[in-house]
Structures are given as structure tokens and as C-alpha cells.
């Protein structure tokens, strides 16, 4: 299973963290520090895996962002690379050629998408279209709810006049 997902920028800034195994806040900070030290220093041509505390971390760099997933020793590293790519493609489709800033200002969206992709550290949906559809459907639910509240506030505001 995937124990956690990290998105770290080249400068070592954390852009997204998702923990599927229990790590306390203190451990999380330590993990992030250790892994950014390990991963950000690796050269471009090296393999995408690092061994860390008896686990493996699979990472892949997209532009300025490192996508990292930590897995058990007997998991399939090559498949995790595909899952990372899968996530990136869905993000790309959702934001329309995604960049780091999209993920900073809309970090909650990145989480919503990840939640449609992984649960309990396992892959939930192999189809990018389905993921996109589900996220869009929920976004529109939010939009309708917003419109409703704003129209209600309008009515109230007008009534108050």
C-alpha cells in the first residue's frame, strides 16, 4: 500500500501531503525533511526509487515539482510511477496544463482529485475520464449550493430594504 503521498517543490517547499498510515505531526515534519534531503539531491538520470527506513519511496519530477509516494518493499515500483503519472494527467486535464501555482492556490482541489484516485493507500479508479467526471460533478454541486445561498441572501437583502 501507499503510506503517504508528498508533493515537494524543488526548493523543498511542501505542496501537498497525504498520509494513509498514522504519522504524528512531529514525525511528518521529520519524514518530509529527511526525504527532501534524499530526493532533491539526486541527479536527473538516476533511478526514481530511494530506499528509506525499510520502505521505498518512488518519486518523479514534473517541472519544478517532485511527486513522491512511499510504498512497502514488496510493492510494484514501476506501477507506482504509472499511478503518479496518472494523477498528474488528471490534474493536467482538470486545471488545463497544470503548474505549481495552480496547486498552491487550489490545493484543496488537488486533494479532492487525489481522494477520487486513492483511498486507504490503494488505487481506486484507473479511468482518468471517470475521475474527472466525478470531481466535476461534485464541483457543480458546490456551485449550485453557492448560487442558492447567494440568491437567498439577495432575497433577504432585498426584503430588508
Amino acid at each position: 500500500m501507499i503510506h503517504f503521498v508528498l508533493l515537494i517543490s524543488r526548493q523543498g517547499k511542501v505542496r501537498l501531503t497525504k498520509w494513509y498510515s498514522p504519522y504524528s505531526q512531529k514525525e511528518r515534519t521529520k519524514v518530509i525533511r529527511e526525504l527532501s534531503g534524499l530526493i532533491l539531491t539526486r541527479g536527473p538520470k538516476l533511478c526514481n526509487f530511494v530506499e528509506w527506513r525499510g520502505l521505498r519511496v518512488v518519486y518523479k519530477r514534473y517541472a519544478s515539482l517532485y511527486f513522491c509516494m512511499c510504498i512497502d518493499e514488496d510493492d510494484n515500483e514501476l506501477e507506482i510511477l504509472e499511478i503518479i503519472h496518472h494523477y498528474v494527467e488528471v490534474l493536467d486535464r482538470y486545471f488545463g496544463s497544470v503548474c505549481e501555482l495552480d496547486l498552491i492556490y487550489n490545493f484543496h482541489k488537488a486533494y479532492f482529485i487525489l481522494d477520487e484516485l486513492l483511498i486507504a493507500g490503494e488505487l481506486q479508479e484507473p479511468s482518468k475520464r471517470t475521475v474527472a467526471r466525478l470531481v466535476a460533478a461534485q464541483d457543480s454541486l458546490v456551485e449550485t449550493a453557492k448560487e442558492q445561498t447567494s440568491s437567498i441572501t439577495n432575497i433577504i437583502a432585498q426584503a430588508a430594504k
Binding site: 501531503t17 497525504k18 515534519t29 538516476l46 530506499e51 515500483e77 481522494d115 486507504a120 488505487l123 449550493a145
Partner: protein, 870 residues
């Protein structure tokens, strides 16, 4: 606005600025939380999530998540659940409060809300929540919308991992998921089955019987399916499904020939037909290879699998090579021969520029080394050691040393290789490794001359390797005369001219080298003392070097130089006897100590195979003052063991009565070493086991001076050191010939009732307690073991462990055979020092192992019923 906050944080130039912004935001959020402002609640939470991601504490927002989840609208719930997953984890009590909301949402009419609840539950649920909500999740496995079913399936995985007992409830539903057409449901269903198999053998049997056929069919369909754009990844339809099916088949096939047989065809097809030019295809091949190697198979498929790995290994992509090495490691147990064929490639991978690959390859190569290839491989590895990265040297050195030791049938080869390693990477060599080398050198008497000359040569070229220097210095001290006279010349050696002066020079270099650490310098001092006797003509010069250290700031060295100087000056007639060559160190004892040197509080009395009492306790120390004829009547408890004697010998304290207390005695460390020195050349049986590490023990003495400096080589620490009294024995022989008369230890000052510490149908253990006068913290326990059964116990071994506030010393048992039916007993003395004396009672965990009727028996027990005030 959240965007404003993010912008403000991003605009910060320093960490302090950022902290200030975050502090201000947090204060505002807290204020807003206190006002219970509903409109801003989700905005606050969003901000908190961002702040949390930066690593700041956000616990005060946890309740806000619960409130949002409890509200009616989808937007609030969506952000509430997200916050719940980010700000909390399963270990927080607050989480329990959400159980009720979760239950309601799992039954909600809006399927997206059900989805949110399932996602949260799957990601962070605790065991209690799993138990409470399992029925809901089970029901949702049959929900009409497949997107809910797949979420429920993954949620079930979390539940059965938290509470394996719930597994059987899920078996049937999981099996029905395998028949689904929706890929999302199918992959999650397959994953659920795999996890069920891991926690429940019942599930494993069920799926093996009922589902193997179906899974093989599903895999065949997906392998042969036409192009489908929705699931296609580089020409392969849904590789994720491929991989999960292969994984589940592996679990079902493992250990079951019948199931394995049913899947061989499809595995062969996957292995041969899958495209290997893209990562997705390789991922499938990799999984397939693992499945082939795990299931029961006649070998035909395995050849295929190993060939795939061979292809992987020659791939240019580092990722592929990495997984190949990883898998070959597992293949070694199946078909070592086949893996051996790739040895050359693997050796190249050890020298790769990628640290991950190097590490994998080294681990794999380590497994491949055997008697036939060891010489070649070690040669290659040592050559590589010269050029390898600094950070890799540690690993590499450890592996080389371990291999060289493992295949050390030829001593000369072993010594040669170790010397090479020491000269290349001596600073990475662990203490026990060079200790072992010294033991081997000491045992190889025909190679002493060869070794010392080789070491001398190596020493001249690489003085910066600490351990090399140590070994060289030790050997020069011991075998210096052989260095000078070219004794025991082998045919393969080039002759070398070394004068006595050169040998002393070498040691002087070692002691004056500023990078030398304390251990090395201490060893060099000893070597000098020894050389003074080997080369009498240089005795004055050596004395000069030793004297230079009299003012050394390190107390240890200062002390030793003073002591040695005294030996040189005042006891010339002792000297040659004192510094005779070490007796041959006992390899068996040394390796036994290494194996047994666990860092726990367990002290094990060796089952005394050779029956020499290598831990003779205190009694031996008592006669010392006697034979030195120093009025010993008014000497208090002679618990400072060799300390008095040392002082006496060195004439440091020539007052008519020895120093009244042991507390200001010479420090323990130097005592030991000097004692060791003194006992050298006394090939008493008592010696052999101990001296190996005693002379080496200087390496553990690094800390000693500080202890001593406080003047507190306290009684207990001195007496706890079992080796020093043992060494005192031969010393007495040296000086007097009087044997260490059996002397009773101090009479107990206070009587304690005996205790039946342990009694079972087969064994009784009695403890008798006594105290030494003057040290209330220390309790002497005499354990008596009685056999209550009618069979003899062999290899009887008693072990005990104590918590940290206690210190335990175990003497050897009186025997390791316990006669049947209470017809005789074994006794063993324990000494326990209670640092919390008066506050805490003794407590001890004991383990007793023995053989009866050729059966190993192990009994364990915690003993809590010690008398108070021990």
C-alpha cells in the same frame, strides 16, 4: 480570503516573517472560531489546512471539522471531511466524535456525500470506528452506483486491516465484486480479496477454490481485449488491473500446486506477449515474474522469468535495472545458478553512479558469493573500494569484511584482504572487525612475521586509516622483534630491512599523529612499553616518548605514561616478564562474545563449555593486600579489586597503609589494561578467554577518563567489572605463587528470607539473598536450581534481565547439567545493584533453557515478589 493569505505567506522573505504572518492568521482564526461564526467556518478550515501543510500546529481547528461535517450542505461537508483527513489521524480521541456523523452520511440519499464519508473512513478510521461502521460499509459494497462500490471496497480493506476478525463478513461480498465489469470496482475488488487473504486463511482457501478459474479468465480477457481508449496506457488496456490480478493469483498459487497449475498458461502468455518498451508493460512483466517465482512450478516458467530479468538487467533504464536487481535477489533462493550467470553485470551495477542501484547490487552480490568466486569478487570489490564514493564506503567495507570473514579458510588470504581493506578504508571498519583480525593474527603463529612486515609496509603508506594504525601498533608491540629480524620469511615476500629504530619510529608516529584518537594512542603506549623490552637498547628513547605523555591532558594517557614510566624505572626486573608476548587469543571465545554481545540488559552466563570459571568473582581480590604484606587488617572491604595492588606495585602510594577507600583509587580503565599487561605471559587457562578483549578493551575505555576524573570510579562500577578480579589471579601467581585462596565474600549484614522465585512441575528456583556491608544498593543472590522431574536436564542455561534502574551481573553456573529428581542442584550467583534503592523493589525477568530427552525446553517468568528494601 484564502488566496490573500497564501499570497501573504508566499511574499515572506524569511522564515521569521512567515511565522509572523501565520501567527496573525491563526489568531484571527481562533477568534473567529470562538465567535462560532458559521459563514467563515469553511474558509477558516481551508486556511488551517494550508497552515498545517507548512508544518504549524492546527489542533485548535479539529472541532471545526466536526461542525462542518455535521452541517447539512454538500460544500461544508466536502471541506469538513477534507479537513478531518488532514488535521486528524486515527490516534486522536476527537475522531471518535465523528462516528455518528459518518454513520448518517453513509446512509445519506446523496451518493456524493456517501462517497465523502467512505473516503474519510477509508483513510483515517480507527479500530473502534471500523467495528462500529463495518455493517454500513458491507452494505455499500452492493450499492447501485459502481463509484460507491469501489470506494466501499477500499474502505473495507482499511477495516479488515484494523480489525482482522471482521474479515469473514467480507468474504462473500468481495468474491461477488470479482465478477464486476466496471474496472474501478474490479481493481478495488481484487485488491480487497488480496488483503483478505493476508489476514484470513479461511478467505484464502475460499478464493482459491471458488475464484481461481474466474480470475484467470478475467486476466485472459483483459490481456486479449481490443483497444479501449478509456483504460489504455501506452498500448495496454488497464495495466493496473493486470498487476492486481497477477498479485492476487500469486497469493492463491503460493503453496498450492493445483491452483498454480491452472494459471501457468496465462502467466506464460503474459510473460511472452507483453510489450516491454514502455514502463507500463515492464510493470506488468515485473509483477508477472514475481508471480511466476512465487507459485509452485516445475521450472519451465522460471526459465522464462529469469530470462526476462536478464533482459531487464541489461536495460538502459535505471528503473528497470533497479527492479531487476531487486527481483534477482528473491530469485537466488530458487535458482542460484541462473542468477550466477548475471554475476558480471551485477558487479558492474555495484559500480554504478546511482546510489540506489549500487546498494541493491551490493546486497545481491553478497548473496552470490561462494567458495568458487569469492577470491575474484573480493578482488574486484576491494579494487572498487579505492575509487568508490565516500558515502558508499561504509556499506561496501562492511560487506567486504563480512565476506572475507565468512570465507576465511586460508588465513594468509584473510589477512591479506583485511590489510587491503584497512589500508583503503580503515576508518570505516567496525571495532569488532579489527578485533577479530587481531585474534586471527594471534592464532596464525606461522604468519606472525609475514603479517607484521605487511602491516609495517601498509602503515608507511596509509597512516590516515585509524584502524590500520591500531592493528599495526598492536602487532609491532607484540611481534616487533620479528619485524626487525625478518623472522619467518615466506617465499612470496620481498625482503625488507627494518631497524629497531624504524619500529620505534613507527609507533612514535602513531602516538604523535594528531588525528590519532585516544584508543590508538593508548595502544601505542602499550606497544612502546613492550618494545622497551624487545629492544633493550632503545629503552631510554622509549622512556623519553612515554615521559612526554606524562603531562597529557587526557587523564587516561597521563595516567598510563606515569605508570609505565614507573615500571621502566623502578621495576626493570619485572619488565620483561610483564610484557611478554600475549598468549594465543581464543577464537571460539571471541566469536562467542561477539555473538552474545547484545546491547540489552541481559547478562548471560555462558553454559561453561570448557568449564573454566571465566568470571571468578570477588574472592580472588582479597589476598592481594596480604601477600604484599601491607597491614591489611584495617583495610576496609577490598572491593576496589586490583586498584590497591596497582598502586602498591607502582609505588605510588608508599604510605604504610593503603589508601583507605577505593574511591580515589586509580581509575578502572587503566587498572584493567595494566592488569592485562601484567597477566600477559601467564598462559593460565583463566587467561585465555578474557585477554582477547581485555587488551582490546581499550577501545571501550574512551569514556572512562571522564568517569574517573570525577574521582568516582565507584565501588560498584569497579566491582561490576567482572574482568578485573579475574585478572588479578594470575598476577598474584606472578608475584608470589600463592593461589587465590577461596575467600568468602563479605558476610551479609542483614538476613533476608529465601524466596522460591519460580516453581513449575519440572523445576524449582530458590533465591537466597545477602548484602555486602557498606553497599546497601547491592544484593547478592544465590540461585539454586532443582530438577523436579525424572529426567536429567542438559545444557542448562539461566538468563535474567532487569529494568534500567537495576544493574545485573551473572556469574557462571556451577554446572550445566541438572540431575533428575532433585538429586543435586545447580547454583549460580547473581549480583544486582539497585540504583533506586529504597524507592523501588527488585524485579527481574528470567528465562531458563535446557534440554531434556533431546527436546529443547524454554521457561520464562517475571519475578516480582522480591523482599522489600533489596
Amino acid at each position: 480570503m484564502i488566496g490573500d493569505m497564501i499570497r501573504a505567506i508566499r511574499a515572506c522573505k524569511t522564515a521569521a516573517e512567515e511565522r509572523a504572518v501565520v501567527r496573525k492568521e491563526c489568531a484571527a482564526i481562533r477568534a473567529s472560531i470562538n465567535e462560532d461564526d458559521q459563514d467563515y467556518r469553511h474558509r477558516n478550515l481551508a486556511k488551517l489546512m494550508f497552515i498545517q501543510m507548512l508544518g504549524y500546529p492546527t489542533h485548535f481547528g479539529q472541532m471545526e471539522c466536526l461542525k462542518l461535517i455535521a452541517s447539512a450542505g454538500f460544500p461544508e461537508k466536502r471541506i469538513g471531511y477534507l479537513g478531518l483527513m488532514l488535521l486528524l489521524d486515527e490516534r486522536q480521541e476527537v475522531l471518535m466524535l465523528v462516528t455518528n456523523s459518518l454513520k448518517q452520511d453513509l446512509n445519506h440519499s446523496n451518493q456524493y456525500i456517501v462517497g465523502l464519508a467512505l473516503c474519510a473512513l477509508g483513510n483515517i478510521c480507527s479500530a473502534e470506528m471500523a467495528r462500529d461502521l463495518a455493517p454500513e460499509v458491507e452494505r455499500l459494497l452492493q450499492f447501485r452506483d459502481p463509484n460507491i462500490r469501489k470506494k466501499a471496497a477500499l474502505c473495507s480493506i482499511r477495516i479488515i486491516k484494523k480489525v482482522p476478525a471482521l474479515a469473514e463478513n467480507f468474504i462473500n461480498c468481495a468474491a461477488s465484486l470479482l465478477k464486476e465489469k466496471h474496472h474501478g470496482v474490479l481493481i478495488t475488488g481484487v485488491q480487497l480479496c488480496a488483503d483478505l487473504c493476508k489476514v484470513s486463511s479461511e478467505a484464502l482457501e475460499y478464493f482459491r477454490k471458488k475464484c481461481t478459474e474466474g480470475l484467470v479468465r478475467t486476466l485472459r480477457d483483459i490481456v486479449n481485449s481490443p483497444y479501449s481508449p478509456e483504460y489504455d496506457i501506452s498500448g495496454i488496456t488497464d495495466p493496473y488491473l493486470h498487476i492486481r490480478l497477477l498479485k492476487l493469483l500469486r497469493i492463491l498459487g503460493q503453496g498450492d500446486a493445483d491452483a498454480s497449475d491452472r494459471m501457468t498458461d496465462i502467466l506464460a502468455q503474459v510473460a511472452t506477449k507483453t510489450e516491454s518498451n514502455k514502463n507500463a508493460g515492464n510493470a506488468i512483466l515485473y509483477e508477472c515474474v514475481e508471480t511466476i517465482m512465487s507459485i509452485e512450478d516445475d521450472g519451465g516458467l522460471r526459465v522464462l522469468a529469469i530470462n526476462i530479468l536478464g533482459k531487464f538487467l541489461s536495460n538502459r533504464d535505471n528503473n528497470i535495472r533497479y527492479v531487476a536487481l531487486n527481483m534477482l535477489m528473491r530469485a537466488t533462493t530458487l535458482d542460484a545458478q541462473a542468477v550466477q550467470r548475471h554475476r558480471a553485470t551485477i558487479l558492474d551495477c555495484v559500480k554504478d553512479s546511482d546510489a540506489s542501484i549500487r546498494k541493491r547490487a551490493l546486497d545481491l552480490l553478497y548473496l552470490l558469493v561462494n567458495d568458487n568466486n569469492v577470491k575474484h569478487l573480493i578482488k574486484e570489490l576491494i579494487e572498487y573500494l579505492e575509487v568508490s564514493d565516500q558515502e558508499f564506503k561504509g556499506d561496501l567495507t562492511a560487506k567486504i569484511c563480512s565476506l572475507v570473514e565468512k570465507f576465511s579458510s586460508e588465513k594468509i588470504w584473510y589477512i591479506d584482504q583485511m590489510l587491503k581493506v584497512l589500508s583503503e578504508a580503515g576508518n570505516f571498519v567496525k571495532d569488532e572487525v579489527w578485533h577479530a583480525l587481531i585474534v586471527v593474527i594471534s592464532n596464525a603463529s606461522d604468519l606472525h612475521g609475514y603479517t607484521i612486515r605487511a602491516l609495517y609496509r601498509a602503515f608507511l603508506t596509509s597512516t590516515e586509516q585509524e584502524t590500520l594504525v591500531r592493528v599495526a601498533v598492536w602487532c609491532i608491540g607484540e611481534y616487533g622483534d620479528m619485524l626487525v629480524n625478518n623472522v619467518g620469511m615466506l617465499d612470496i615476500e620481498d625482503p625488507i630491512t627494518v631497524t629497531e629504530c624504524d619500529a620505534v619510529d613507527a609507533v612514535e608516529v602513531a602516538i604523535k599523529r594528531h588525528t590519532s584518537d585516544l584508543t590508538t594512542k593508548a595502544m601505542a603506549l602499550i606497544a612502546l612499553l613492550k618494545l622497551s623490552s624487545r629492544f633493550p637498547s632503545y629503552s631510554e628513547r622509549i622512556k623519553g616518548i612515554i615521559v612526554q605523555n606524562k603531562g597529557n591532558v587526557v587523564l587516561e594517557l597521563q595516567q598510563r605514561s606515569i605508570e609505565f614510566n614507573h615500571i621502566l624505572q623502578k621495576h626493570p626486573k619485572f619488565r620483561s616478564a610483564l610484557v611478554e608476548r600475549m598468549p594465543v587469543l581464543d577464537e571460539a571465545t571471541f566469536s562467542g562474545r561477539r555473538a552474545g554481545s547484545l546491547p540489552t540488559a541481559i547478562s548471560t552466563s555462558s553454559g561453561a563449555p570448557s568449564n573454566h570459571p571465566n568470571g571468578i568473582a570477588k574472592p580472588a581480590t582479597a589476598p592481594i593486600p596480604d601477600f604484599l604484606d601491607l597491614s591489611s587488617d584495617d583495610v576496609p572491604a577490598p572491593s576496589s579489586s586490583g586498584g590497591d595492588f596497582l598502586q602498591d606495585l607502582l609505588g605510588v602510594d608508599l604510605s604504610p597503609t593503603p589508601a583507605p577507600s577505593g574511591a580515589d583509587m586509580p581509575p578502572k580503565a587503566s587498572t584493567d589494561v595494566l592488569l592485562d599487561l601484567l597477566s600477559i605471559g601467564m598462559p593460565l587457562p583463566v587467561q585465555t578467554g578474557l585477554s582477547a578483549s581485555d587488551i582490546l578493551s581499550s577501545s571501550q575505555d574512551d569514556k572512562a577518563p571522564f568517569v574517573n576524573f570525577n574521582g568516582l570510579a565507584s565501588l560498584s562500577s569497579l566491582s561490576a567489572n567482572a574482568t578485573s578480579p579475574a585478572n588479578a589471579a594470575p598476577m598474584m601467581d606472578l608475584l608470589d605463587g600463592r593461589g587465590p585462596g577461596p575467600q568468602k565474600s563479605e558476610e551479609n549484614g542483614q538476613a533476608y528470607p529465601s524466596l522460591v522465585a519460580y516453581e513449575s512441575s519440572s523445576l524449582r528456583v530458590m533465591f537466597n539473598f545477602s548484602k555486602q556491608r557498606g553497599s546497601p544498593q547491592t544484593t547478592l543472590i544465590q540461585a539454586t536450581f532443582t530438577n523436579l522431574s525424572s529426567n536429567v536436564y542438559n545444557d542448562f542455561l539461566f538468563q535474567a534481565a532487569v529494568p534500567k534502574f537495576l544493574q545485573l551481573h551473572l556469574d557462571p553456573a556451577s554446572s550445566n547439567t541438572l540431575p533428575a529428581s532433585g538429586d543435586g542442584s545447580i547454583t549460580q550467583n547473581l549480583k544486582v545493584t539497585n540504583s533506586q534503592h529504597g524507592k523501588k523493589s527488585l524485579v527481574m525477568r528470567v528465562r531458563i533453557a535446557y534440554k531434556t530427552n533431546n527436546k529443547d525446553v524454554l521457561e520464562e517468568r517475571q519475578i516480582n515478589n522480591f523482599p522489600q528494601n533489596l
